[in-house]
Symmetry: C2
Subunit: 296 residues, 2 copies
């Protein structure tokens, strides 16, 4: 299957499941459910849930069984975008091709919509359907790993250092801390969750963790590059936002040429990590290429 056909199919599954677990938009109090759905069903790539599904497949897992877990990853990612875009954080006006949540619903509802999506992720992860599909031991392990990756030692820690670094010049280790935590940890746990849910071996987990770590960092380096070279219309968010906030980025610290080489190396190494998984990991491999060449 061509990657674009595969991605479209998986996006369809993710969107359908997310729609089935989100409260309807007219449920009281309707503004919060409208706000949650507004950001969740904007034009999103669904990269994290697709990685979860492709990771499960790479170790012989069943996509239908893994879908609720994949969707929880998207709920957490969407909450983090809504909070990151707030005026007191990155103050972004455009996201996923639409005005940001707080621009439409106001800051208070945007904060609460983010809170509600984060909470909904853990509600979605703890349903009996998942227990029936993969067993409670794997389910609880995934909940714990996801909470760690999203918490102050993961995603939130990265965001904290990111906003504290605005206007400062950073060295490579500081910049890498931000990228690995703010973006990398959730991408890595997306991949790990799918593999754990599918009952992977220790060796398979090690291979996929190597892939996930490199992919996560590469993804963010390419994000930095696109913030300089990309088109707002294609990206669905404003370009030049990093330099407007005086944020340190890979192109700025390494130079554009070296940043691109770094991204290529990481993607190449990530793909090499998939070797032991054989042909079942081909979608993960193709996703790595897609990330390197992405324009949005």
């Amino acid at each position: 299957m061509q990657l674009d056909v595969y991605v479209t199919k998986q996006k369809g599954l993710v969107d359908e499941y997310l729609d089935s677990i989100m409260p309807p938009p007219d449920k009281h109090p309707d503004i919060i459910h409208k706000a949650m759905r507004y950001s969740l069903f904007a034009n999103a790539k669904r990269l994290r849930p697709i990685l979860t599904l492709a990771s499960a497949e790479s170790v012989g897992g069943n996509v239908k069984q893994i879908l609720p877990i994949a969707c929880a990853l998207e709920l957490i990612h969407t909450y983090s975008l809504i909070h990151d875009d707030l005026p007191v954080m990155d103050n972004d006006d455009l996201r996923r091709g639409k005005p940001t949540n707080h621009k439409v619903f106001g800051e208070a509802i945007a904060i609460l919509a983010g809170d509600a999506l984060l909470t909904a992720a853990f509600e979605a992860l703890s349903v009996p359907e998942i227990t029936d599909a993969i067993g409670s031991a794997r389910q609880l392990k995934i909940i714990n790993k996801l909470a760690k990756a999203a918490g102050s030692a993961g995603l939130i820690g990265g965001q904290v250092v990111d906003i504290q670094s605005q206007g400062k010049s950073l060295d490579i280790p500081e910049l890498e801390y931000i990228h690995v935590h703010k973006t990398g940890k959730l991408i890595l746990v997306s991949i790990i969750s799918g593999a754990v849910a599918a009952g992977c071996s220790e060796n398979q987990l090690a291979a996929l963790s190597g892939y996930g770590e490199k992919l996560g960092l590469a993804y963010q380096i390419i994000d930095d590059i696109l913030d300089v070279e990309g088109e707002s219309a294609e990206l669905g968010k404003n370009t030049g936002a990093d330099s407007a906030l005086h944020k340190a980025t890979y192109p700025q610290v390494l130079g554009m040429k070296q940043a691109k080489i770094q991204a290529q190396l990481l993607i190449s190494d990530a793909k090499a990590d998939l070797k032991p998984l054989g042909d079942k990991a081909r979608h993960l491999s193709e996703i790595a290429d897609y990330i390197l060449n992405r324009k949005n």
Copy 2:
């Protein structure tokens, strides 16, 4: 044991366990861990975790086994206070006797500290120690019930209607919706979590749910009364905040005398619900009296 001795003992257990699971205050990035600890270890009543422990005891549960679950309730409660106090929400300056989180750490870190505490609750709830103590079936049931109670159909829904109602005159059902959701659902689930963790029967759960629903509503009515009649120094937060925000309250809608009668009736009915549990529920009964007579 006298209630105050009991409460002091349980608070000690809760504080000690919370301290053991919170990242140390100097852990990188230290500002987020300092901010999380600042609000968590302010002078708090620990009502919700104490209710969880007392509820577990009332059906023969083991306090030490239930403690991690009780503490997760306090993490969620503290996150909700930090976010509710934000300038775009209730704009409060004083909480638990200290300046609010955003006054000390700024709005961005306050939002992230709330996010991190909410996430930490689900990390704490999913550890293997809980599985070993109560089994995965009860553990997953509690995670799911807690997420529901904290989500857009519970606590967050109540906060949404509350901030949308500022400056409007509400009728009793609207006001009750806010109170039941914003405060009642988390108090109720604190009680239910303890009982489920301890392996209660359906009849015991029904009795405790009746108690919890009434206690939760009574607690908030008394909060409204204290906002008018209480002393800021004793409360640890500013009085008159509701009327300053033109918030509808029970004393305003029912009159002060009727509001007090309503609170007394609810507490009396809540205590009556405990009858089938016998002497093991005496701490829950005493906590109900304490809530009726509380000054903070």
